[in-house]
Symmetry: C2
Subunit: 662 residues, 2 copies
């Protein structure tokens, strides 16, 4: 006989989805939707307008705090006291410009990666391909950690923002911060389990709302300040608290302050990596669509960032943190000044606040798009358990989504949802990955050359150097504050990858059929099949088991384990009366164990190492799931105990008790 695939011609006509029967399955269906057939995979891919919010919400959300971090760093250095001086404006613009440059360099570098690795060019793949598996695993570990941190940081800061909105502040949102954070993690997890497209539709709105409002604010604000429109009196510029930064001056400014402002300002670029890793999620042509989305993201991010920084200097916004207090967020100050907090246009101010909180929370979604994909690639390569590579009901990598949600929850609980304590751990990972990936691309161009390879190598080389510098700055600034934990966890992760890989290799070594020196396995065997039927009492429920035993072997023994010697006589007499044709062996069990006497008996009857012992366990099942609570647990226990023997086959033969309670 040969291989046949009688039905595979019909594979395209997926049959209708089965209706789930159990309550749990129905809940699952309700939450996550009907399964999607595999052939719909291309339909589940993302059009550009959905891909942009999904892959960019993280990066774009950074404008909500990027400028603020710069103002903070410069203010702490004493410069803000000189808020009216041109020098302050000068430094703000300098750092903003540097970050915008970095953005252009990283975007240009990754654009090249996207075309060079059209089937997905995440840092892991690029590093592994060019710099070896070791380096690839380091990049992968760094990224996985950063994705979990992104979820925790984004949601924590979004909830913090929510808590500061005047309307919600009175509801004391802050009191239940951790609980609200966990709620959002669970919602994001469920949304992503439903599938990327659906998640995208859900997430596009707040992202575009934020972008639209931010542009409106910048244009109105700049035009207003240029034309001399009245600034809303309730939003007069903040003054610094007495004694803070007052004694400063130009002398205090230095490279370190600029670097700190720079490191603070560019800490949220994970979205870039996400796009190049997620190319297969784009519609065809994947690479060019991904490149377009990357450019769109870079343009929006850069223009909003520059616009907000310029507006902040124009409106003389300062930002400070002192003794646990802080000025209102820069976005809050800006939109309050431009739209007004109480006037006709105050609804725009409130819309801006909600959109900001929304995009901060959705920033977490970038990780949900990317973590499962990277985990599945690692699983396919044998560095993580295989299950993480399975596409679920809804064509998403279910395992990775659940793992990401779970780790984020652990992190939020461990750090009590505090942004301040999570931030120092953040961004080290993604700049590790950036640096390794760009270095890998340089090597790639040297190896493959092609037209204009020198220019390309220079672009990626610049990217590698610049992101490497940023990595060093972040590591230097944050190490003692918590970044060391990231290093420790990354090392452990790489060790885990390698252990899993070695283990899969060792197992496969014994499973492969082409192993040298080993004969091909034969299916013929003269071994015997000794069948043991276990009974606990004499009733109709054991008949199917006995019938099955007779069907599969001639050598049958029925075993009764004598746990309570008082009952033995009743059992043996009932047996003689009902099933006299089969021999019943009573096994004493002085320690009332069910398993040990059976194991001993198996050892006794097994004469040939090739013999197979089939242990048949009669089981009873009813139509009510809770009846399992009334049954005994002997069957599962015995199966568990016999799991470690390759010579024993355990078969359950079931008797169906019909009907419900009268």
């Amino acid at each position: 006989m040969s291989t046949t695939t009688p039905e595979s011609r019909n594979a395209d006509n997926a049959p209708p989805v089965r209706t789930p029967r159990t309550p749990f399955a129905r809940l699952h269906r309700l939450l996550l939707g009907d399964p999607i057939p595999t052939r719909d995979e291309k339909d589940a891919r993302l059009p550009k307008l959905l891909a942009l919010p999904i892959f960019s919400s993280d990066a774009i959300s950074s404008v909500a705090y990027g400028t603020q971090e710069i103002l903070l760093a410069l203010g702490a250095a004493g410069l803000a006291a000189a808020v009216q001086r041109p020098a302050y404006t000068h430094y703000v613009w300098l750092v903003t410009g540097a970050i915008a440059m970095l953005l252009v360099i990283v975007a240009a570098s990754y654009r090249q990666t996207i075309f060079a690795y059209p089937s997905g060019g995440g840092s892991y793949l690029v590093s592994k391909d060019n710099l070896g598996v070791h380096v690839g695993l380091i990049a992968a570990a760094a990224l996985l950690i950063d994705y979990v941190l992104t979820v925790a940081v984004s949601i924590a800061s979004g909830v913090q923002n929510l808590a500061n909105i005047p309307l919600l502040a009175s509801l004391q949102v802050a009191k239940h911060q951790v609980g609200i954070c966990l709620f959002f993690v669970v919602m994001l997890t469920l949304a992503n389990l439903r599938g990327l497209r659906q998640a995208g539709a859900l997430f596009a709105f707040p992202t575009y709302l934020f972008v639209g409002l931010a542009y409106t604010m910048i244009v109105l604000g700049l035009a207003g300040s240029h034309l001399g429109w009245q600034i809303h009196p309730d939003a007069a510029p903040q003054t610094l608290p007495v004694g803070l930064g007052a004694g400063g001056g130009m002398g205090a400014i230095g490279l370190l302050v600029i670097l700190r402002a720079f490191a603070n300002g560019c800490s949220a670029m994970t979205g870039t990596e996400a796009i190049s890793n997620g190319i297969p999620a784009f519609q065809k042509p994947e690479s060019s669509n991904a490149a377009t989305v990357l450019l769109g993201m870079a343009f929006i991010l850069g223009s909003l960032f520059i616009g907000i920084s310029v507006l902040a200097t124009r409106l003389h916004i300062v930002y400070w943190e002192h003794n646990g207090m802080s000025a209102p967020a820069v976005i809050d100050q800006l939109s309050g000044t431009v739209f007004g907090r109480f006037g006709h246009w105050a609804w725009l101010y409130y819309a801006m606040q909600f959109a900001t909180a929304g995009i901060l929370i959705l920033a977490a979604n970038t990780s949900f798009a990317d973590f499962p994909r990277l985990a599945s690639i690692l699983a396919n390569d044998g560095f993580l358990p295989r299950q993480l590579s399975n596409l679920g009901d809804r064509l998403v990598f279910t395992g990775g989504i659940v793992v990401l949600g779970a780790f984020s929850i652990v992190l939020l609980i461990a750090f009590k949802g505090s942004v301040d304590r999570l931030i120092p751990l953040y961004a080290l990972g993604v700049f590790t990955a950036f640096t390794l990936s760009q270095s890998g691309m340089v090597k790639h161009w040297f190896r493959h050359r092609g037209s204009g390879w020198i220019t390309k190598a220079i672009i990626n080389g610049t990217g590698a150097v610049v992101t490497g510098v940023v990595f060093a700055v972040i590591a230097y600034e944050k190490f003692a504050e918590g970044a060391w934990m990231v290093v420790v966890v990354a090392v452990l992760l790489v060790m885990l990858f390698r252990t899993i890989h070695t283990r899969y290799g060792a197992i496969w070594e014994q499973l492969r059929l082409d192993a040298p020196g080993e004969p091909a396995p034969s299916l013929q065997s003269r071994a015997k099949n000794v069948v043991l039927v276990l009974v606990a009492s004499v009733h109709r429920g054991i008949t199917p088991a006995l019938r099955y035993a007779k069907m599969i072997s001639k050598e049958i023994t029925v075993l009764y384990v004598e746990i309570n010697p008082d009952k033995t006589k009743d059992i043996t007499e009932a047996w003689k009366k009902e099933f006299a044709s089969v021999e019943l062996v009573v096994l004493p069990s002085p320690y009332r164990s069910l398993v040990v006497p059976v194991l001993d008996y198996i050892d006794k009857v097994e004469k040939d190492a090739d013999d197979v012992i089939t242990v048949i366990i009669p089981e009873i099942f009813t139509d009510e799931w809770w009846d399992v609570l009334l049954g005994n647990s002997a069957g599962p226990t015995l199966k568990f105990q016999l799991m470690g023997r390759s010579d024993v086959v355990v078969s359950s033969v079931r008797f169906h008790v019909q009907g419900t309670i009268h």
Copy 2:
């Protein structure tokens, strides 16, 4: 062939215990000890000197607070202001005497029960036997609830006592009260899982220490006050807080106060029930040993109670609770006065405090001896899941012990370990059971008569009436405070018992072989055994499964579920090369489900309703338990999904991958 029991003659020579292999099994062995052979059951029984502390610690512990509750009730009525008057002493003695009488009546009643029901005469059995199953179940529900409450109340009050010992008060034991309570519940649970004998040895010491110290205190105190020895100046009699009870007088005293004092004072008699329920745990002759222990308990309890009450009036002790404050416990005041808190004999004072805390905590152990036994009787009668009737490794009813521990923990957490909030729920159950059991005994004597039956009926009748009155008093006093919860839970429990019983009956109706009209089951069958072997990839690990399939049937099909169509070609080609002799059927799975295509295929190949389908799942196992994390979960999922079909037998055939990580 006929029934043979080739080994049962050797049953007495229990083989040596197997050494456990897994880490979990080793921990289990370490905590709970080696299994005990069934034949040792008689050795595991309790000698009288161990049975006394096990079954009586609850009752005896009540002297630690019985007198105090009387003084409190009388004090609140204004009588304590008249502490010097003979009337106060008079009322204390009156209530003490009434409770002592109650004790004598209950003990005498139960003594008769012990001899009338030598195999165990708990309230459930006696009520069921004489008043019907309904009444029996009510008694059982009331008792089960009370046992759980006893554990919670005893441990909470013991820990409260510990927290008040001067030495420990500075350690702020009170702050961690719930945690310490849970610790003691877990310790008691483990001790009881090790077995009654061992538990008894552990518990005898504090009980006898308390009894010895209490007698010493009473004798010294009475002798001292008689001979005019100096009373320790640091323990002068408490005076009532200003305004509390000052306005009282003889007018305020009434039946209600006496009843409240009575109800408070007799709230801990569960030990009596425990003895008559636990007769089978005594050494032979069980009944007379149990009766001796019952008398011993009643004597110790009565004499200590009377002694402490007399001593308290002699030393002019008062007790009050006011605005959340209270006087030191009566035992504390008494031992402080008699032994002194700072002098040469202060160590006796401290010993008394620790022994009191100890016996209060150990009082919980009475429930651990009795709850599992009652649960096992109910399980044997089909009113609770069968598992609760299994004797564990150590000849104890493991299930009941664990259930009791778990419910106590829930209760302690729900009520935050507060004695004040638990007390009102307490004692209603046990007096329900007392009343029903004694009423049952009256009926018993009327039915069976025998020598002196009229006297016996009068004794039990008196018991029934007196405990019935106490029941009414407790219900009246405590209903609104929380006793209503006990009633609700008891009703739910009785409904649960009846549901389980109906369900077992309905299932057995279909399992019994002597059902009228049904033919005896035949073991002969002409049905076919269609074997389906599921493969996920082509490797050496599936060879044993294929070999086994050939062994048990001629009709074999190998199924490959096509989850990822890209891989199908590789699989079919590898199959042709390695196992060409067996047909491979590729099942498309448009929704990437493993189970659905297999179920559809089974429906297709099953032509005759009698046919059996054997689904063989090749499994791989290694010597490292954590390798299961690397394997896939397809096998268990499929087994779970096929559990609801009596026509399908699922067999796992395993391949053993040897060796460890290199």
